[in-house]
Symmetry: C2
Subunit: 219 residues, 2 copies
DNA sequence: TCTCAAATGAGAGTAACTATCAAAAGATGG
DNA sequence: CCATCTTTTGATAGTTACTCTCATTTGAGA
């Protein structure tokens, strides 16, 4: 007797995606199939969302379009919103940040890495996909909410990095504030980008946003 | 055909509560009844949550305990989570911030007002209530998500204030970043407080958090 | 007291989930 | 190639948050 909106352990998949070849590990047939199912589900979902909107698209429809059973759908995405929230970029970010000089202020590291990554990463298709996701996040409150939740998303990763860099086991309040602020800036920037129809350069916006965060005391 | 998790207009109630006497308007019998119903629902709900937990407590139970029909429950709280999210403090904060000198950096104003307000405001009962709410928010993801959603909550208010103070009609990205960062710090601090069992002084934590936010560039 | 608007309750329906269990399909060792 | 073992899948039945609609009640105002 659980609530639709409530907690539920994630399947803890390593959230693969377009960048499958990342960890050179050769994938078994099983893994490849799972990956394909996951991608198909997400692709069909996004297509349907674009065609009919978020609410008019039911999980059953998505499952049917991807030719799996509803049961299977929920195994891959325990909540409908998760279709839009899986981010394959986190591990890349983490690695890049770890590679920065240890003495550098964290925000500086994060800014350099994030902006650089966004500037380079985006193939036209990835850009379009990211935009569509953000557009939905901006317009569908439940998606937005889930995106802000943060636990799975960048905030958690940033917090881990910060804690690690500070040589601590558990994060302090200060570290949590830093992670939350950066993560909020990230999300806010993406939403702003989507709000303006994606016509700005995302990397520039991000740079501006994080620079602003550094000078917060002055404004 | 709307989704449980999806958007849905709030009834736009002026969210009354313990501070009903705020706007001295004498309440009609009808208004008093509505107020009482709302309070009863919330009180019974919190009691049940504490007794049996969030998920084990169904809307029907709450309605029954408050002696109204389920239909009526949903008229007052369109989503279950809303039981915990009504905040009567926002308008007070807004007014206090508006009263600060106009040239002052926003974060400085906000810090002074928030810390001051928290330090003074909390009657023992209010403190306990706030704690219970945060405890649930910390442990129930869906509540946490809804709390972070922000549009209604402090972020929106802060953003309005910032925009107003900047003499603009629409917020810039920078303003949105500022509001998001402060709001995130607020939420994070409250959750931290709840995580640690409420044994710290919330005002102190908040002060620390916002000070840290000011010095973000340095860490 | 009569009238009108607002609040309530009842009932039926939808869709996102959960739990369980049997069948299918990939991995593995011989 | 086969036999076993494990993982993934599908089917089915159920729970619960929420929506819609409409008839009934109840407070407001003349």
């Amino acid at each position: 007797m659980t609530t639709p909106r409530s907690a539920r352990p994630r399947p803890s998949d390593p959230s693969p995606g377009s960048l499958e070849e990342l960890a050179g590990a050769p994938l078994s047939l099983r893994e490849r199939k799972k990956l394909r199912t996951r991608q198909t589900l997400r692709r069909e979902a996004v297509r349907l969302f674009a065609e009919q909107g978020w609410e008019a698209t039911t999980v059953d429809q998505i499952a049917a379009a991807a030719e799996v059973s509803p049961s299977t759908f929920f195994r891959y995405f325990p909540v409908k919103e998760d279709l839009l929230l899986t981010d394959e970029y986190d591990p890349l970010m983490a690695e890049a940040i770890r590679a920065r000089p240890a003495g550098e202020p964290f925000l500086t590291s994060a800014r350099a890495v994030l902006v650089g990554l966004v500037r380079r990463m985006l193939s036209e298709q990835e850009r379009a996909e990211l935009y569509e996701r953000m557009r939905l996040a901006a317009s569908v409150p439940s998606v937005r909410a889930r995106m802000m939740e943060g636990a799975g998303q960048p905030r958690g990763m940033l917090l881990d990095l910060l804690t690690e860099r500070a040589g601590l086991d558990a994060p302090t309040l200060e570290l949590r504030i830093t992670a939350a602020a950066i993560s909020a800036a990230l999300t806010e920037t993406s939403l702003y980008w989507a709000d303006r129809g994606g016509r700005d350069d995302l990397a520039d916006l991000l740079d501006l946003a994080l620079e602003h965060l550094q000078g917060l005391a002055a404004h």
